[in-house]
């Protein structure tokens, strides 16, 4: 198995491509204790610092001066999206502050609002109230934002009741969200629902994803691959995939994502960043490599007679083509970007 890693040049490139002005925000909001920090840590492979955990819940009393919290400015994905985590509620005085004086700062330039509900919460009325306040703020400041609602900690509900409870919540939320459209998911960090929900969210955020999928299929068929996966670069969520025959393991995407994120964590300890990997045995060869500015590709070949170099050249050539695809539409965000 060969692994290639570089010293940060790739991440620098991404950062230079999208200077801070053009950043748009993914807001991750929810009551304190609803599981946002764990979720962010798991999806983005961030080490959870002991201090934040010890405080019980992340208290984002921080810089109202910058719209982008210093802590979060490293969590970028899809090029110019930055993840911001905010606590909603807990103390009502905070809520007043949020929604009067600092409202514009928080809710401006928002591309996506992900609101997390704790399924166990006993204060449903209050939760809905906060949610609606957030929606109002979004309507005023970023009316084009996409809204996703995650009903989290579903593992605490008994299995036979999960569908029922989720349907109820979904109806309520859809009703409350009008005129905005919200997409609801039920999630838990202890099963595959979290990964699938975030994969769906990211899928909807990729600019021209259907075109990507068609091209991916062509690419796979041309190079005679068994399966080709496209991952988002920061989170290793599967954006799209093509497989030429039925695979047995339905959870393989999550497993690969976990393995690579663990590997990235190890690499980061050496201040190195992960670039590419080749895994080969007598039955198959797998190639993971950087693809476009937002994505990684994984190619699985089950014909061991095809030499690595051939596949790597194919991937390299395909990369140029896919980059052009991305650039044609460009980052949508710059079109709706507000001038400061």
């Amino acid at each position: 198995m060969e692994v290639h890693s570089t010293e940060r040049t790739l991440s620098l490139q991404t950062e230079k491509k999208y200077p801070d002005d053009e950043l748009t925000i993914v807001l991750l909001m929810g009551k304190s204790g609803s599981g946002k920090t764990s979720m962010r840590s798991i999806i983005f492979a961030n080490y959870i610092a002991r201090d934040t955990r010890r405080l019980g819940a992340t208290s984002k009393v921080c810089s109202f001066l910058n719209a982008v919290d210093v802590e979060h400015s490293h969590v970028r994905f899809l090029g110019n999206l930055v993840l911001n985590l905010w606590d909603c509620g807990g103390q009502d005085t905070f809520m007043e502050n949020y929604f009067t004086s600092q409202r514009d700062n928080i809710f401006r330039n928002v591309e996506v609002l992900i609101y997390v509900f704790d399924v166990e919460s006993r204060e449903l009325e209050k939760d809905m109230h906060y949610y609606q306040s957030c929606l109002e703020a979004i309507l005023q400041n970023s009316p084009d934002a996409k809204v996703f609602c995650l009903v989290h900690k579903m593992d605490l509900v008994q299995e036979d009741q999960r569908d029922l409870i989720f349907k109820e919540r979904e109806e309520d939320l859809k009703r409350l969200s009008r005129p905005l459209e919200c997409t609801c998911f039920r999630t838990s960090i202890w099963d595959e629902t979290l990964y699938k929900a975030w994969s769906s969210i990211v899928y909807q955020l990729i600019p021209n994803v259907q075109q990507l999928e068609t091209n991916l299929r062509n690419f796979a068929q041309i190079i005679e691959a068994d399966e080709v996966l496209l991952f988002e670069r920061a989170t290793f969520l599967v954006i799209s995939h093509y497989q030429c025959k039925e695979q047995r393991d339905a959870h393989r995407f999550e497993k690969i994502s976990n393995i690579i994120k663990q590997f990235k964590l190890s690499c980061s300890k050496l201040a190195a960043s992960f670039q590419s990997m080749e895994v080969r045995n007598s039955n198959f060869a797998a190639f993971i490599d950087v693809f476009t500015s937002n994505t990684y590709v994984m190619v699985i070949m089950s014909d061991p007679s095809i030499p690595s170099a051939a596949t790597l050249i194919n991937i390299r050539n395909a990369r140029k083509h896919f980059e052009k695809l991305e650039r044609v539409d460009g980052p949508r965000h710059s079109l709706t970007m507000r001038m400061r």
Binding site: I42, D155, D249, H251, K255, K261
Partner: protein
């Protein structure tokens, strides 16, 4: 998610599946040596190998491996909760040799201690410094009455401990699996229960810390004296009233109108450097200076944020107790038995068998048998929970036997014809001169053990008090320092002006025993029975009697 009811491992064992791997034309080398043991031998080319592990388990394993990388090893944030893990019967452990073992019992560590370990843990926790006061306590109550009292108090406190253990089961509809006895008190008695349980817990802890300070000063003083005399080759023949001969026993606090003041002594030194010796005597004084020297040593230890370092030294307590038992046996063997039974009247040398000092002994015994604030936690880890009561009783039996052994032997072996039984000190090691080597070792062991337990007690005080008042365990360095200075100051003051550990033990024992041993368990039992409508007259009378006993014990301390 796939069915959780499918067992994780099929009957198909690892050894047999290796035969299948050969079919796809692997190397002829032994596949076992090349196969990493945690990879499932699933074949992507052929379809017909059976799965060893269900898909849900495989992805759960992958998830857990990944999540464990995201937090520190001691963080419990991303540890899978119980309802997410498969049942213990379905969990297998892979060994590197390729086989899989079924895990017996609970995985996460609770409930895995065999009975012996639990009994030992209870014995270890209960054995405290009150063992040093046992002979004095028997002396105060009279020999026969003392022995009877030890047995009866043991049984009484055992019953109350049983009540504490069963108190959680009286609460329905609430998950009490992580509750300790103070939480139960909070549930039954509300805010009064919360603050009173805090108060009584503080009494017991701070009382223990004061006793520790007095004892530590005592041991440090004697150790320092021994070392100084040894280094300077001083033969000490002090005129403490005591026996003659090699096994010397002294009576340090004898009346001054009969004999000389015990601190005077004749010292024969090799070189007549009297002035330096007198300086040493001035600067190394049991009540005046040593307690202050201790401050420099101990106060920094108290300010540490976490006490886990000190928790490693609990084995020292066991070693000290065992050594004490050996010491007591040796001394008794050398000194022989001196018992004379006078039933109701003390004479000069011996004490009566039944004396009015009984409350003093019961006060000491309440603290000696006190474990009620943590017995639930200790028994939680017992492997067979149905044996809890049996194991608790065995532990109490062993503790009672240990106390009886030490108390009776020292009392009997105390050389009465030259000395008076009344001489037995609250700390029986004080009855041996500082030149006694065996006792020096005992003092050294105990000193070292106490230095490691004292910060633990300080940590408990800090956590409970500051946790309740400020909601934080470590609000600021200043708060913690102030608290430590208060506690240490109390210890120093008591060590200087009233170093009688027997009294401190009995007062603090009776006070915290009033709440945790006698009143709360019985009251909770009565209330629970009444709520269920199962309260019978005999039960009510008996438990009220226990409460009255506790109150009598408490007030008895002030009147004797």
């Amino acid at each position: 998610m796939e069915s959780d009811f499918k067992p994780l491992l099929d009957q198909y064992r690892a050894n047999e599946s290796y035969a299948g791997a050969d079919r796809n034309g692997c190397d002829s080398l032994d596949p076992k040596s090349k196969r990493p043991f945690h990879v499932e031998p699933r074949n992507i080319v052929e379809e017909d190998t059976q799965e060893r592990v269900s898909a849900a388990a495989a992805v759960m394993n992958s998830r857990m491996q990944y999540y464990s990388r995201l937090t520190g090893s001691s963080d419990r944030l991303l540890i899978p909760p119980d309802h997410v893990l498969p049942a213990p019967e379905e969990i297998y452990v892979y060994s590197p040799l390729g086989t899989a073992f079924k895990v017996e019992g609970n995985i996460d560590g609770s409930g895995k201690n065999p009975s012996i370990v639990t009994i030992f843990a209870i014995w270890n926790t209960m054995m405290g410094t009150s063992i040093l006061s046992m002979p004095w306590g028997i002396k105060q109550a009279g020999f026969t009455l003392g022995v009877i009292t030890i047995v009866l108090m043991g049984l009484l406190t055992l019953y109350c401990c049983y009540r504490v253990l069963k108190s959680r089961s009286t609460i329905s509809f609430i998950d009490t699996s992580s509750w300790e006895f103070p939480d139960v008190c909070k549930y039954y008695f509300g805010s009064f229960g919360k603050w009173s349980s805090l108060l009584f817990s503080m009494v017991s802890l701070i009382g223990a810390m004061i006793v520790y300070w007095v004892l530590m000063s005592n041991f440090l003083f004697n150790t320092g004296k021994f070392i100084y005399n040894y280094v300077h080759h001083i033969n000490v023949t002090d005129l403490d009233f005591g026996t003659n001969g090699t096994e010397r026993v002294i009576c340090p606090s004898y009346d001054s109108d009969h004999f000389q003041n015990a601190t005077l002594g004749l010292y024969y030194t090799k070189d007549t450097n009297e002035s330096s010796f007198l300086t040493f005597e001035k600067w190394w004084n049991k009540t005046d200076t040593v307690p202050f020297f201790l401050v420099i040593l101990i106060l920094p230890l108290l300010n540490f944020k976490s006490a886990s370092f000190f928790a490693r030294f609990t084995f020292l307590g066991t070693v000290s107790v065992v050594y004490l038992i050996i010491l007591v046996t040796l001394k008794a063997a050398h000194l022989g038995f001196h018992l004379d039974f006078h039933w109701l009247h003390s004479n000069r040398f011996f004490v009566a068998e039944f004396r009015m000092g009984l409350p003093q002994l019961t006060g000491v015994l309440t603290l000696a048998f006190f474990i009620h604030n943590c017995v639930i936690t200790l028994l939680k880890n017992n492997k067979n929970q149905e044996n809890n009561v049996r194991d608790l009783s065995v532990a109490y039996l062993l503790v009672g036997l240990t106390y009886l052994y030490v108390g009776v032997l020292i009392f009997s072996a105390f050389p009465s014809p030259p000395l008076y039984k009344d001489c037995i000190e609250p700390n029986f090691l004080d009855n041996f001169p500082s030149t006694d080597v065996l006792v020096f070792i005992a003092r050294g062991c105990l000193l070292f053990q106490m230095t490691t337990v004292y910060p633990l007690l300080g940590y408990l005080v800090r956590v409970q008090l500051l946790g309740q008042i400020f909601k934080k365990h470590y609000p600021s360095f200043l708060h913690v320092l102030t608290l430590n200075i208060i506690v240490v100051g109390a210890g120093v003051l008591v060590a200087k002006f009233y170093p009688n550990i027997g009294s401190i033990i009995r007062y603090s024992g009776a006070t915290c025993g009033l709440a945790y041993v006698f009143v709360f368990p019985s009251l909770i039992h009565i209330i629970a029975l009444r709520r269920n409508g199962q309260l019978t007259w005999p039960s009510a009378v008996f438990h009220s009697f226990l409460i009255i006993l506790g109150i009598a014990n408490f007030f008895g301390q002030f009147f004797t």
